[in-house]
Every structure is written in C-alpha cells, then in structure tokens.
Symmetry: C2
Subunit: 681 residues, 2 copies
C-alpha cells in the first residue's frame, strides 16, 4: 500500500494540455517469484486448470477418502441417494434407447464391415463400464456412425473384410484397444485440451461430410446393388451406383423408399414436438419388426431383397486373445485406433458437456476421457468395437427422462436379453431397413442453420468448415479432418505473425484513449504517436512489428510535412494487450527505441517545426504486464526501461506528464494546430 501518499482525489489527468499538476501512478514490477514457482504455476495452469484437488482442501481424513472414491467411481456419488422414483424414469428411458440401440448396433456394425452381432456386443459391455466410471448422467453409450465408418474404411485399405474376415475382426478389436488406450492416456496425462483443436466449425463441416458419405454407402442396401465399390469418396460411390444400374432391384428400392419416408416422418414429428420423442425413438425398432414380418410373410428374400441372415445366439465371447500387437498391420491399427479414438472422444465429450450444461452439472473432461478409454479397452477384450456417447441416442435418452447412468444399465440388460433369446428373430430382417435407419440417423448431423450462423459471424471459420466438408467428401474422412485442423492452426499462427497495431487517440473530455479508426471522435495529441500492439510479441512477429511501427512513424512524419504541425516528440507504445514477450521481442523493443531516437535526432536537424530544445524523440511504454515488465528489465538490451520516465501506467498519465514537461519549453507552434488527427484518409 505504498500508494496511499498520493491517493488524493484530484483526478485531473485528462488529455487537455492545460493541466499542470499531473498525478502519475508508478509502474512497479510484480511481486518476486522464483523461476521454479513460475514454472509450477504455469504447469498447474496448463494441466490442472480445473484444480481437481480443491474440494479436498480442509476436509477431515475420512471425508477425503470418500471424496477420493467418488472421484474415481462417480457411481458412488449418486448410488447412495438412488430412489424408486429415479429408477422408474431410468427404466423408461433405458428401454427407449434399447429399442434404438439394437437396430442401430446391427446397422453400424455393417457400416464398419463387421458382423452385425458385434454391434450388439458393443451395446452390452461398454454401457456397463461407463455406468461405473462415467460422470455424465445422459450419455447413451454404444457404437456410432462416424467412428464405425472410419474404422471400416481405414482397415479396408489393407485387409479385405470379405476375403479375410477373421483378420479383419482381429484388427478391429486391436484398433479398439488402441483407441481406448489413446483416450485414457489423454485423460490421464491431462492433455484433454488437445481435442479442443477440433473446433465447432470443423466438426460441423466434418459431420455434414461424413453424414453424406455414410448415406451414400447406404445406397448399396437401399438400391440392392451387390457389386458396390469398396471406396468411400463421393465420386467412386456415385460412379459405382450409376455403372451398376442393372443390379438395381425395384422391390428393394420400393420397400427401402417406403421405410425411409416412414422413418424421416417419425423423425420430423419428434423434431417438431419434443414431447413425442418416443415416435422417432421407437420407429427404428418398429420398422425392423414390420419389415421382418413382411419379408417373412411374402418370402421376399427369394425376390431380390437381401436379409441379415442367421445370427449366433449368446453373450459376448472373450476376445483378448484376438488382439494383435505385432505383425505387418500394427502401424495401420495404431493409426486407426488414434483417428477413431480422437473422433469418438470428441463426440462423447461434446455430447456429455451439452447435456451437462442443460441440466447444470459439470462433466470433468479428463475424467470422462479416462472413462471412455477404459470402456473401449475393456470392450476390445470382450468382442466390442469402438463405442462412445452418441449424440442422437443421448438426446432420446434425455428426452425420455433419464436421470442417472442406470438407463445405460437397463439398455445393456435389454440388449443382453436380445443376445440370449431374440437373435433368431433378426434372420429375415432386410438390409434395406438398416440402411434406412442409418440414413435417418445421420441426416440429423447436417446442421445447415449452424453453418449459416458461422458464415454470418466469421468468414474464415466458414472456410475451415467448408474445407472439412469438401475434404471429407472428395479426399477421405481422416484427411479432410487433418486439412481442416491444419488450416485452423495456420490461421492462429497467421494471427500471431500479423498482430494488429492501432493508433490511439484521446476521446474528447476524458482520459480514455481508443483506436482512432474505430472511434471517429478520438483525436490525436500533437507531438505524440500513440500505438497499441494487440498480441503477444514473439519471434514470429517481431520483424513484422518492427516494419509496421516504423511505417506508422513514417506516415506520421509525412503528415507532419503536409500539415506542418508538431513533429513526433514521443512514441507511446501501449502494451496492455501484450501478454507475453520472448527474447526476440525484447530485441524488438530495443531496436524500436534506437530507431525512434535516431528519427528524433534527424528531425531536430532538418525539421523547422520541432521544438528547438527537444533534441531527440523518446519511446515510452505504457502498462507492460507483469511478465513482460520483468523480462524487459532483466534483459541487458532494455534495462533502461526500469527508469520511471519511460514507463507509465496509463496512456492518459503518460500524455499528461510528458506534455506538461513539453509545455515548460517555449512554444513554437500555433494553437489552431494543437488538436490534430493522425487518421489517414
């Protein structure tokens, strides 16, 4: 509190030059911390921004144990208070999502080129694991369309699912293991922020592209084509469709079209009236039952309508002996695991956060990642492939009134009953109805209003979205994603390489200084060039900032020649927005000071309008933040900036203080030129 001596209420430090008594608040370095303390604080902020140990602080030892157990097993948080009322809600929602999960599980497994039953296996074990470790109350766990598509298409690059189905299955389980391993590691190493690099714009474009790719794949079953391309891109699929027109089966097309319209109508009804969620939730199972009955009744499988065929009864067989950690395909499997792991993690976390925000509880990202990762690692040992929280199914779960993860357990038990007793019923289920179910599910991933809103808000984000969309459509799912992430990062780097520098002017009747190109009423102060740098200064932008600031000075001097007003006495750099600086940035400040002083000397030699007694111009810094100030004062090149005459806390105080020292010199300019505007055109 060393400031109390000058804390009188004389706030006269405004932009007008008349003030003689100028109050200046000193710039002080921040309280000293050792390098180790700073490193510790930085590491904590990087890896533990949520401060997970905070809740343990000041608790008795027993409470600490309970909190710790609850932290590892979120089920312990809600299980003790679980009631019959909650259970009723959970049973309803659990049965609802089961009716959706069974047909979707079969469909998505086919999308991944896996046996349909693997999709059901994957809807049995992972939800149970998640119920114990997961902290979201609304997430409905199971296979999802995009991860299934990527898994299938990436593995098919090296192994054919029809020629070598066992190896393909082994690779799928191993990829699932690696996906889970990467997911759990990201959470454990607290690197969860890496998935933030998949921005909303990227996801919207990616989802829309993937939805179209997935829908196109369904043309195989909806048109009844038998010789379909194994490729994913828009062009090979369409050419395959139109080169095989003689394979089209009118029975399949008719029936497929009817069910597709039915399902889309059901979806539309629920979309318009959220209360009728059960229409779209029950429609897939109803369609499966109806279509199976039709096929069975009319023996339609003898008339060109392909059916799922015989499915094995029984629960998940163990598959840990099928994991391949060596051999020629290890690289592919790791890559597939990484891509599907990241994609499904992104979907799961986003879904969890969305519903947590709706119900106002919080989902810990890193903990969720460990739960999803664990669930996939366990899954890979029990004949399951990649699973996560699915958006559409979680929405149904939420609308059906799910209260806790018990709805997942109910779903899991329902799937178990199906696996044990009901498998023969699916023998005559036509593939076309599975195709229709997938198309209906993924159509919801195309979010045109969101895309339009991005176009309105930020054109560059729209470009990124478009790249993701077109990349997925025309190149491949994973490359489209990589391109979009690359462009996003490039944009950030470009922003850093070309930070904005703006000229500040005084807003009349106040000591506020703002960008003169934004606030048209702001006017420059004669003799002062006030610049604000709006980004951290580092190696990537020092050279640019140097050139740009020298150009501002030159432009100011050219204007001086034209308008014949006072030449630059002080260049004020407002560093309020410069959060960090590095060694190259320190050198920039030194070089700028030298350049400004040199200009001043030249000006005083040649310039007739300059104040004769003012032999050189000065660089003055305003409000350097703690870290920046420390570095400037520690580096040899800029140690002079420890002097108070070069440092001010606000632009207003700097101008008031410096211009009062200018005023004490004999004036050599006319009063009508006192207030002028450095704004160009």
């Amino acid at each position: 509190m060393n400031m109390n001596n000058n804390s009188n209420n004389n706030n006269s430090n405004s932009a007008d030059m008349q003030s003689h008594c100028v109050e200046v608040h000193p710039v002080v370095p921040p309280p000293h911390r050792s390098s180790l303390q700073k490193l510790g604080a930085k590491l904590k902020e990087t890896f533990f921004p949520d401060d997970p140990l905070r809740q343990f602080k000041g608790q008795p030892i027993k409470k600490k144990w309970i909190l710790g157990a609850q932290y590892v097993f979120p089920i312990l948080q809600w299980a003790p208070q679980y009631s019959l009322k909650l259970f009723k809600s959970d049973v309803v929602s659990g049965l609802t999502i089961a009716s959706l999960a069974i047909p979707q599980g079969i469909s998505y497994a086919k999308l991944a080129n896996l046996p349909p039953i693997v999709g059901l296996y994957s809807s049995f074990v992972p939800p149970l694991v998640y119920a114990v470790f997961g902290s979201s109350r609304d997430l409905a766990v199971g296979p999802v369309s995009i991860a299934s598509l990527i898994l299938g298409s990436m593995l098919r690059q090296e192994v054919s699912p029809t020629k070598d189905p066992l190896l393909f299955l082994q690779l799928a389980f191993t990829s699932t293991f690696f996906a889970g391993f990467f997911q759990a590691s990201l959470g454990f190493l607290r690197l969860g922020f890496l998935i933030d690099f998949l921005s909303k714009a990227i996801l919207i474009g990616f989802m829309a592209g993937a939805a179209i790719i997935v829908s196109l794949q369904q043309l195989k079953s909806l048109l009844g084509i038998t010789h379909f391309t194994p490729q994913m891109g828009l062009i090979p699929v369409l050419s395959s469709v139109f080169h095989n027109t003689k394979e089209w089966s009118w029975q399949t097309i008719l029936m497929g079209f009817c069910f597709l319209v039915l399902l889309l109508l059901a979806r539309h009804v629920s979309f318009k009236r959220p209360k009728l969620f059960w229409v779209s939730a029950g429609a897939p199972l109803a369609s499966v039952i109806l279509s199976t009955l039709i096929v069975f009744a009319f023996k339609a499988h003898h008339h060109g309508i392909s059916v799922i065929g015989k499915l094995q009864e029984g629960l998940n067989p163990p598959s840990w002996n099928m994991l391949l950690f060596h051999g020629a395909h290890l690289g592919l499997v790791i890559k597939t695991g990484f891509v599907t792991g990241i994609i499904s993690l992104t979907e799961g976390i986003a879904v969890g956060r969305t519903f947590a925000a709706l119900k106002d509880y919080r989902v810990d990202g890193n903990k969720e990642m460990m739960a999803i990762g664990l669930m996939n690692m366990v899954g890979s040992a029990t004949s399951c492939y990649v699973t996560t929280g699915a958006f559409s199914r979680s929405a149904v779960n939420h609308n059906a009134g799910a209260k806790t993860a018990v709805s997942n357990i109910v779903m899991s038990v329902t799937v178990m009953v199906t696996l044990l007793f009901l498998m023969p019923l699916f023998q005559y289920t036509p593939n076309l109805v599975l195709g229709a179910i997938i198309v209906t599910a993924v159509v919801g991933l195309i979010d045109i209003p969101a895309a339009f809103n991005i176009w309105k808000t930020d054109k560059f984000d729209f470009l990124v979205m478009l790249c993701a969309f077109l990349g997925v459509l025309f190149i491949s799912v994973q490359e489209g994603l990589a391109i979009a992430v690359g462009i996003s990062i490039f944009k950030i780097l470009l922003q850093i390489t070309r930070p904005r520098t703006v000229v500040l002017g005084s807003i009349p009747g106040s000591d506020i200084y703002r960008n003169v190109h934004h606030y048209k009423q702001a006017v420059g102060v004669p003799g002062f060039l006030i610049l604000s740098i709006e980004a951290p200064i580092n190696f990537a932008n020092s050279m640019y900032l140097n050139e740009r600031i020298l150009r501002w000075i030159e432009e100011y001097e050219e204007e001086v020649d034209v308008k014949k007003h006072l030449s630059i006495q002080y260049v004020i750099l407002d560093l309020s927005a410069v959060s960090t600086i590095d060694t190259t940035g320190v050198i920039l400040i030194r070089d700028l000071r030298k350049a400004v002083e040199k200009k001043g000397i030249e000006a005083s030699k040649t310039e007739k309008f300059s104040l004769s007694s003012q032999s050189s111009s000065c660089l003055v810094l305003v409000n350097p933040l703690g870290e920046v100030l420390e570095k400037l004062q520690r580096a040899e090149e800029t140690r002079d900036f420890a002097k108070p005459e070069n440092l001010y806390l606000t632009v207003g105080e700097a101008v008031a203080s410096l211009s009062s020292s200018m005023k004490s010199q004999p004036p050599t300019m006319h009063d009508e030129e006192a207030q002028t505007n450095p704004r160009q055109n």
Copy 2:
C-alpha cells in the same frame, strides 16, 4: 463527432462509490466495411505490410517508370551516383574479401563433398548476379559453411561422392536449382515471414551445434585420417577419430596445429581491434600461400601430408544440362534444396538486415529473397552450388569499407583471374590448412554471451536453443532444426491454449484498474468480479476460458461465504486485450452470460447478503475491439450485447455506472465491508 454533446469536463468517473453523476462514453461499432474490404485489408497487411507501392503514389508517369526499374534492379538506385571515391573503397574491400573467398571457397566445397574448384566457380557468377538484383550494400556473396555441410550430408545419404562423383555433382546442382527456386518463390509469393519462424534462440543453438559438427569434420584433414566416417553426428565422428589413431600423422598434426593457432590469433587480433580487420581477412590467403610453399619446398606431400592436387583451369562450364528433374533421387534433391535454401536464406537475410541497420538503410526482405533465389538458379546453370551472404565475410567487407555491391564485382573479377591463371599454384596446398581455415571461420558462430542473455531473459527460449543445439549435435542438422521449430510453435500454441485471465482491482484514488496480483495496492470493488482476458479467444482456448472463469466466480463466492460481504452482482469482462474472436469464442461469451445469470438467480434464492431487489447477476463487457464487437453483435447468440447496459468503454465507467444503479437500491450491507480484496491467500 457524435460525442460533442457530452464532452463536458466533468471527469468524476472514479472508483469511489459516492459519485452520483456518472459520465459514460458509449461503445460504438467500428465504421462499416464490407467483407470484401476487410478481406482486402487483411490480405494487404499479411502480404504487403511494407506497402511497396507507397513510393509510387502521386508521382508523374516517367518517375513511376524509373522507380519501377529501380525496384526491380536496385543497381539503378546507386549506379548513376557512383563516383571514383566510392570505387576506391570498393576495390579495397573487394580485394580483401577475395583473399578470404578463394581459400574459403575451396574449403567449403570440400565440406560439401564437391570438387574444390566448384567452390571457386560459386564465388564468381553469383556475386555478379547479386550485384544487379540485391539491395544490400554490404553482403559478401559466396558459399557458406552450414549450407555446404547440409548439402553434402543430405546428398551423401543416397549417393556416394567418391563412388559416383558425376551423379553427386548433378544432384548438387539440381539441389541448388531447387534451393534458388524455393527462395525466389518465397519472395515472389511474399511469404518471406515464414523464415521468421527460425527465431534468434533457434539460430544461436543451431549455429553453435553446426559449428561443432563442421569443426569435427575437419579433424579428418587436421589429423590426416584417411578412413573417416561419412556420418555427421558427434558420436560417430569421435569414435571414428579414436578408432583410427594409427592413421594419425604427426607431420599433419604439427603443421595443422601451427596454422590453426596462427589463424585463431589473427582472428583474435581483429576481434579486439576492428581497425585491424585486414589481419584476419588476409590470414587465410597468407596461410594458404605459406603452407603451399612449405609443402613445395620440403616435398611434404611425400611425407604423409595430403594436398589438394591438380585443379582444372578456366571459367565456369555451363551445367544446365546436368540438372536432373526426374529419376530416383528427385525427392531427395527437392528436400535438400528446400532445407539448404531456407537455411542459407535465413543467414543471407539476417546478415543483410544487420548491416542495413548499422548503416541505416532498409533491406526489403521479399526482394532480397528473389535476388538470392535468382542468384542460385543462375548459379545452378553455371556449375555453382548453393550460395548466400556469409556472416563472417560480410563483416570483413563492412569493416574494409565497402560502399556498394561493386565490392562483390571486384571480388568476382579477382576470382575470375584466379580461375583463369592461378589454379596451378594450388596444386600443393595442403588440406590441413583448409581445415584450419574452416575451423577458424565457424568458431565465431558459437555465441556464448548471447546464450547467457537468453537464459537470463527467457528460460523457455533457452530450452528451445538447447534443443536445437543438442538435436544438431546428436541427431542431425536438419532434424535438430525441425525439432526446435516444432517446440517454438508448440510454445505459441500452448500460450494460446492457456491464456491468462487476471482479476482487476481499482488503484485507490484513480479510475485505473489493474491486476490485483501484480499491483498490491489495487483493491476489489464489492459486488463486482472484474476479469481481464489477455489473449484472442478461439476454439483452442474457449473451453479452458469457460472453466477458468467459472472457477474465478466460484472462488469469489467462497470468499463471500467466509467474509460475508456482498455477493457477485456483476461480472465485468475486460476485453481490451482480446484482439480477435471466432465462432467458438462467441459461444463462450453466450455460455458465460448464461452461467453468470444462473449463479445470480441461485444466489438470490440462498444468499442472505445479496441485495433483495437484485434478482440476477449480469455479465458486462468492457472495451471489445472493433472486430470482436462486430462479431458479437452479428452472431445470433450474443446479439443482446448491442444493448448499451451491457457494454462499457472502460472498467472505471462500468463500475461507476453500475454501482450508482446499485446504490439507488436500499443498502443491506455494512460500510466496513465495502472495500474488500478478492486476492487469494
């Protein structure tokens, strides 16, 4: 100028709550510009920050032509005013650098595993090209050590220079062509800022590592080892040296040691007294002459001292027919061209800028790149390999009084004379003296004081430097560089992922608000949580900012419980340092507003200290910059922020205005708790 109506001089908007008449300056959106105008401005700032067309503005048409010609051929800028006096200076400096260039040319060509004469060819044609197109007056052009080393070591990965010398030479010329092509393209596409990503810290570490690697390579000639490893790393070279001790030749070691000491002494003398620059400049040529005489006189080449051998006389033969744009090695050649091109460009530009700053003229980076690129493309067609402006030679040139690029022409002519008539004289020049010359030249690249200064200023930059250094020493030159660049970019991304958020407090007796953890006298305002975000908001940090800001709010509320003061009425976000925002950032602001409002409702239900009539708390934004404000008002989610009650120009005005509206409510708290400090511990 719509502000004139309230520009009275009543500056009473200070932090004290007594003020009833609060003057508030409105936040207005920036003047409207179309998307196309914004795009144009952004592109101009990205690619033409130096505004190269500015000098053409308002000039008559003839003058424009002259300026245009001078822009393309900088030689036209100084040639018309060239005088005899300048020529005298240039002849002296030209002869000086020629005496350095001839032995260095031969040495560096050997470093690149090329015939020695290619080094001399490379000191003849490129300087002539540079003299016409280059804009630096001090750059001494020719082969340089690090680019030579990289070229030699990268090409040797696939082709042996001893077994297939013709192919090796062809690849070297082709790499040179690609190096020139990349350099010229960077300049032409105005992407010169990409070389800024090689920060000073990286270059210091890289140079030191490369100097050691280059020096170690010279142990071959300085010890007289014949079976030397073709690898570059520290460990293989040292093990090769100590496994071949029986090949060591004492005559070579003795003579090599003497010349090394002689050259280092000469360097030391010139270093201490810059006036004696000619000592170190002339020493290499003197050593070559002296050592050649000794070998010739004592027939030392019959006693274990290896010599250069017969060199062909005559000027550069054409080599455009040797460029290979197809075949198995094309990938390697393009990679080599890219790496050597970037490295030599970085050195050339840095040297040019350094001396331009000393003599106070400006070097246009993009133009320089085109000049250097053109010089290498021409060079590749005339039997030259990669050249650029060398640091040591340019320093000698500068010290010797070079005034214009004519010194390069003088050097070039001297080399031409050497090539035509003096080649037989080098027949008995021992290789050991070339090794000693290289070691002396590269020792100067190890800059320990600079490394120490980096350690003092910025520990992370030091780490980057160390990575570059150790990477070059133990992995490889190009990979060490890649690792260091990768870490630098990762650091920037990390800074963006974890931006600082700080709590602001009022500095007593002023309306200045600063970080309470930096300015210890700053105190919080009861009922207000004032936060400043110190980075652009984007997809990579929105999630973090959301969590971090909610934690600040929670911590404040916990303190409220303990100290029983006023709970949060307003959360003020100071966006002065937020230079840009994207769609994810817009959603962050929306989510924060919702969260703050929800907290307020909860608080008013449970909190006994809240003002009864204040039913919810509010999120208020302060000083959003032009682009941020536009996006916030354009996006659907945050359109409410167009309302003036949510937007203020300064924190002081926001606090004054909002607290005066709070004061009009019946007060329910004690006065002694009015001023409190939200600082933790």
